[in-house]
Amino acid sequence: MNANLSALLYLVAGVLFILSLRGLSSPATSRRGNLLGMIGMAIAVATTLANHPPADGLAWLLVIVGIAIGAAIGAVIARRVPMTSMPELVAAFHSLVGMAAVLVAAGAFYAPEAFDIGTPGNIHTQSLVEMSLGVAIGALTFTGSVIAFLKLSARMSGAPIILPARHLINIALAVALVACIIGLVVTGSAVFFWLNVILALALGVLMIIPIGGADMPVVISMLNSYSGWAAAGIGFTLGNSALIITGALVGSSGAILSYIMCHAMNRSFISVILGGFGGETAAAGGGTGEQKPAKLGSADDAAFIMKNASKVIIVPGYGMAVAQAQHALREMADILKKEGVEVKYAIHPVAGRMPGHMNVLLAEANVPYDEVFELEDINSEFAQADIAFVIGANDVTNPAAEEDKTSPIYGMPVLQVWKAGTVMFIKRSLASGYAGIDNPLFYRDNTMMLLGDAKKVTENIVKAM
């Protein structure tokens, strides 16, 4: 195939990827967008196979077997994964992109002639620079994502792990990494290539372990961004516009999501990266809660009050997802709607464990997406609502964020549930939330606490109705 034609086809693939993201501007166009993305990928793969076909029968076999294995594993995972586990799945996928970038660069390093970047031991300097950047970011993405995966899937404690002098260690590693990149570019030696990989792998681990569980939505978005930059780096080495465009798209997408998540938690990106949040405060918040009186209610009370309300706003949090209460919740909302009660859902950007997670969980429970509203769109409506029904959420409703200047979450945008006539809280106990901060809302006059498992309490309310 003509080189110009294949370059044009890669460009078409890149444009299709842009359109696939563009489709996500509304649920109505999103499915077509996803399809365009798949077509773009098929074009990119077909163009590569047509332009640089595998050299012999064995190579063809390797390629076909590799695709088949990957496709089978990917398809099974995509079908089986529960929606609550999306954050760890995405983290695992990021690690694969990172590792693939490292391996492709290694392939290019050992067989540069296949990539038109020189001959073994004599690779163009410019290609070495691009390659080493891609490798470093890819390796860092790989181990960082593995740690994020372990933390998100609770295979590893979400508590920050603080090493002594960790900033010094990280800076030393980063300096050594830069030195190795320079060494690789100057000498072209394999030793520097692998040192580069090892140092970046270590840096990835050390960067993510001090970051606490509450900051995981930022971390996962950040790693999304890194995986994009790694792909772009390799795209430069290959001179492939589809890869460069995609890398740039994914890189900026992850960066924007990190920004949105940081903003939603009122944390600066730097302080998230430096880590340590969510560990020390947990000890401070625990003891004080138990003495103050909180008004406890029963499922029957809640059912009676809600049936007589005219407007109910439901505020779901991650606790709802953990208890698998979303289906019971939707049943409750259906009954209320039949009774003529207006029901809306209010979602805080960090309600789940990753951006948009709660919307997916509600969609899975057949909640129509036009009943679900974002923080800035619904906050003004709490004052007109009779009931704010908070299920499995805590920190995102904490009035201390607006009122108490000494609170660690002061300044974070929160859902103003306390402005509603009555606030109902479904919670396991009066303990503090994920960020380890006491919520003064539990002890207010217009708050009714419904203690227990979110799913059981909701089911009891449904029965009582």
């Binding site: 693939a13 990827f17 842009i18 563009r22 501007s25 509304s26 649920p27 499915r31 967008g33 996803n34 990928m41 990119a44 590569t48 196979l49 595998p54 012999d56 190579a59 390797l62 390629v63 590799g66 990957g70 496709a71 990917g74 398809a75 995509a78 929606m83 999306m86 996928f93 694969l96 590792m99 693939a100 391996l103 290694a106 392939g107 050992y110 067989a111 296949a114 995986s227 994009g228 792909a231 795209g235 430069f236 516009s241 460069i244 995609t246 890398g247 740039a248 798209l249 994914v250 900026s252 997408s253 924007i256 990753m354 948009g356 919307n359 969609a363 129509p368 997406y369 036009d370 679900v372």
Partner: protein, 105 residues
């Protein structure tokens, strides 16, 4: 002037594509509705696996030296990883997007 052949390094072309794509990405991603941020992450995962083109090059290299043997090995593993991501990413996105429904009636 036109007698002097001014050759621009292909790197500059690539850099131009890259910079423009960053801006395109910036505007396109801001217009994504927050309700679809999770599918956004899974689909960006899938498309960033277009790195598979590199894996195909490395995996299909002519077996002439020990270096190319290594390249085939690395390419094969990268190919498997990228394909897990491509199929897993697009299919899980499709599964999620199918769940978003409007109010009945």
């Amino acid at each position: 002037m036109e007698h002097v052949a001014q050759v621009v390094d292909p790197f500059i072309f690539r850099l131009s594509i890259f910079v423009l794509a960053v801006f395109v990405g910036y505007f396109v991603v801001w217009s994504v509705t927050p309700a679809l941020h999770t599918p956004l992450m899974s689909v960006t995962n899938a498309i960033s696996s277009v790195i598979v083109v590199g894996a195909l090059l490395a995996g299909g290299v002519a077996n002439v030296s020990s270096g190319s043997g290594w390249a085939r090995g690395f390419g094969f593993v990268a190919l498997v990883f990228a394909c897990i991501n491509i199929f897993g990413g697009f299919l899980v996105t499709q599964r999620m997007l199918a769940m978003y429904k409007k109010k009945a009636k």
